[in-house]
């Protein structure tokens, strides 16, 4: 077995590793990161576009990613929810304060499969909350019909599909519902894992998507990238301004525009204002120590430079790649702040940005 694998490894190594001899900066060092599964494909895509770059990313989940950064197991962490104060403190213990940098946004779609009903069914937060609480059980219920005069709705039973595994997507979705319905907030609450009163649990976006595809009358919450790639039918959700907006890349970025940005950049998209804003939007961050080398990241100086390079690309040309991948880019106001934060990163006192 060993011989076979060595042979395989050898037969390829000629065609493999363009050994970093390309661009000037010492990017042959590998950079390790851990965290958000949502952001994983994007970071891998960016890394593949930087010549000679090696990214070892562990898609273990935002929580595990932050813990990994705290214990200096990886060079950077990736989290969907903003840092809690205890996490900021724990990361700072390594010798340098924590910096969270918003990278991009994604919407959470309310996808469904109902015979004859196309994309764009109008739903508002309160109705969605009632559906996911189990109070509305049929598609032709008066609450739904009232919002959609002119659409013929069948009498099919609504099958609610939710996430069974802990996830930032659940956190974002329940945060929205909790803000729209005090009853939902009291009964179910918000968070990465909640106890859903009704419905079936499926594992991962793929699980929810699959379950929706298979069940007539199903409704569930699915990441935008997924819904767009698999061409789902999804709802138009009423935003703060009273407009029913479909989850497009433009409406997602628009939602981010109206967001209040705290000093530590720990944004949370809540009740976004703006005509074009899609209200169920969530963010994702790259989390690092301000002075990476001083904090003692495993990859050392080489990795520190690498992280800076990834940030530089991601906040630059990488933002244009996002659209192709069905993720939403940062609005200019936030992009500016992210870039500023990235530029302030240091290695043992000296600025990392070239």
């Amino acid at each position: 077995m060993l011989a076979l694998s060595l042979a395989l490894g050898a037969c390829g190594s000629s065609s493999t590793s363009s050994s970093s001899s390309s661009t000037s900066s010492s990017n042959s060092a590998a950079v390790s990161g851990a965290g958000s599964t949502f952001a994983a494909p994007v970071y891998q895509q960016w890394a593949s576009e930087i010549p000679g770059y090696t990214l070892n990313y562990q898609a273990v989940g935002s929580g595990a990613g932050i813990t990994s950064l705290e214990s200096k197991t990886v060079d950077f962490g990736a989290s969907d929810p903003p840092l809690k104060p205890e996490d900021e403190a724990a990361i700072a213990k390594n010798g340098s304060p924590a910096v969270q940098i918003p990278m991009f946004f994604g919407a959470i779609t309310v996808s469904y499969k109902v015979n004859g009903v196309k994309s764009g069914l109008k739903l508002d937060g309160k109705t969605i909350a009632e559906i996911f609480e189990g109070k509305i059980t049929k598609w032709n219920a008066p609450q739904i019909a009232a919002l959609n005069p002119g659409t013929s709705l069948p009498a099919t039973t609504i099958t609610v599909i939710h996430r069974s595994d802990s996830s930032g997507t659940t956190a974002g979705f329940t945060a929205f519902l909790a803000s729209q319905s005090p009853e939902f907030k009291a009964k179910v609450g918000e968070g990465k894992t909640v106890q859903w009163p009704v419905g079936t649990g499926a594992k991962g976006n793929a699980g929810v998507a699959g379950a929706i595809e298979q069940t007539e009358g199903a409704i569930g919450y699915v990441e935008q990238a997924y819904a767009l790639e698999h061409k789902f039918t999804y709802a138009s959700v009423k935003n703060v301004d009273g407009v029913y907006v479909e989850p497009t890349l433009a409406s997602t970025t628009a939602a981010a525009e109206g967001v209040e940005v705290p000093a530590n950049l720990g944004i949370k998209v809540k009740d976004p204002k703006g005509q074009n804003a899609y209200p169920i939007t969530s963010q994702t961050f790259i989390v690092v120590n301000k002075d990476l080398c001083k904090a003692g990241i495993p990859g050392g100086e080489g990795a520190a430079k690498g992280v800076a390079k990834l940030l530089e690309y991601g906040l630059g040309a990488g933002q244009n790649v996002l659209a192709k991948a069905d993720y939403a880019k940062l609005p200019p106001s936030i992009l500016e702040k992210s870039k500023a934060a990235a530029e302030k990163l240091e290695c043992n006192g000296s600025q990392l940005k070239a």
Binding site: A64, D87, S166, K203
Partner: protein, 336 residues
């Protein structure tokens, strides 16, 4: 077990020298070496459990040991960690897996060793063991996307027709449920139970079998009298390994059980299990939640041990009961 060769009996009048002490060294070294290895293993495993118990401690402190195990409320966002629904779920799915998987596996082993034409024995073995090659996540995905939807209709019919039987009948049938999780677990444990049973059955001494046949037993009677009793220990050993797999399987169950932390009232409804909760929630868990997941692991260990101890006791009792019965008679006849 025969004692190591001591002073041999003189053969044909010639006096055989007893082996010099030096020649006994390899034996001693082997015995001591292996014993050390076994002890080290015990230390390693004990260390493993202690480590995990340490991680689990905060959760046990918070809920109390009894509280954690028997409280019926696993609600992460409300910081409540009672593992009873998980425990029940593990018992139900493993139970289904054993009830379905072991008889089928033993039947396959019997067929393979006693009834199958010689030529298909080897291919048959390879085919059954191929089931062991399928990764757990594939079982889960195949189960939820292919098997469960197809079974839903049958399950609904079953629940409706037998609704008078508590637990099995009645209730809303969901696509992911205890039964389908248990069924896929049964498929997953098939290879190991079958393989070990088969190995055991193929070592039944031929004279046992021939004796039974010579006495006029039919094929099945021969199997029942000579093969199965002899293979009992092996079958139980295989079943225990299968049970361990069923109890500890996380990913496939997480995909198939619906992940709803409720006390299962219906076989065809959703539930949760101790292993599945770890797989589902570990990535995002911090602090007390993480500790609670380790605590679920500890509950799993204790459960495994309890079930095994019970199984061993059962086997020991059955062995004692039988030792004065037909088996002894067959032994005498077979000239063993």
């Amino acid at each position: 077990m025969a004692a190591p060769a001591a002073d041999p009996v003189p053969a044909g009048g010639r006096v055989l020298r007893p082996r010099p002490p030096a020649a006994r060294l390899p034996d001693k070294a082997l015995r001591v070496g292996l014993a050390i290895l076994a002890s080290l293993l015990v230390v390693l495993i004990a260390f493993f459990f202690i480590q995990l118990a340490i991680e689990a401690a905060p959760a046990f402190e918070r809920e109390g040991i009894i509280g954690f195990v028997f409280k019926n409320d696993w609600n992460v966002s409300k910081d409540s960690f009672g593992a009873l629904p998980l425990l029940i779920g593990t018992l139900i799915t493993s139970g289904v897996a054993l009830v379905i998987g072991v008889p089928v596996a033993v039947a396959t082993a019997v067929y393979s060793t006693e009834l199958a034409p010689r030529r298909i024995r080897s291919p048959l073995t390879v085919i059954v063991e191929l089931l062991a090659a399928v990764p757990s996540v594939v079982y889960g995905l195949w189960g939820i996307f292919f098997l469960a939807p197809h079974l839903k209709g049958v399950e609904q019919w079953f629940a409706n027709t037998f609704s008078f039987i508590p637990f099995i009948g009645g209730g809303l049938v969901t696509v992911p449920n205890y039964f389908v999780a248990g069924l896929v677990l049964a498929i997953m444990i098939l290879p190991i139970v079958s393989a070990i049973s088969r190995e055991t059955m193929s070592s039944v001494p031929a004279n046992h079998k021939e004796a039974a046949l010579a006495l006029g037993a039919t094929r099945w009677e021969m199997i029942r009298m000579a093969v199965l009793p002899y293979s009992r220990v092996g079958i139980v050993g295989g079943a225990m390994l299968g049970l361990g797999r069923a109890i500890g399987e996380a990913i496939a169950v997480a995909i198939l059980i619906g992940n709803s932390p409720v006390l299962g009232k219906h076989l065809f409804g959703q539930g949760y299990s101790l292993a599945a909760v770890i797989a589902n929630e570990f990535g995002e868990a911090q602090g007390l939640h993480r500790s609670a997941l380790f605590a679920s692991g500890v509950v799993l260990f204790v459960l495994t041990f309890a079930v095994y101890a019970f199984a061993r006791a059962l086997v020991a009792r059955a062995a004692r009961a039988e030792s004065s019965g037909a088996a002894a008679a067959a032994d005498t006849v077979a000239g063993a």
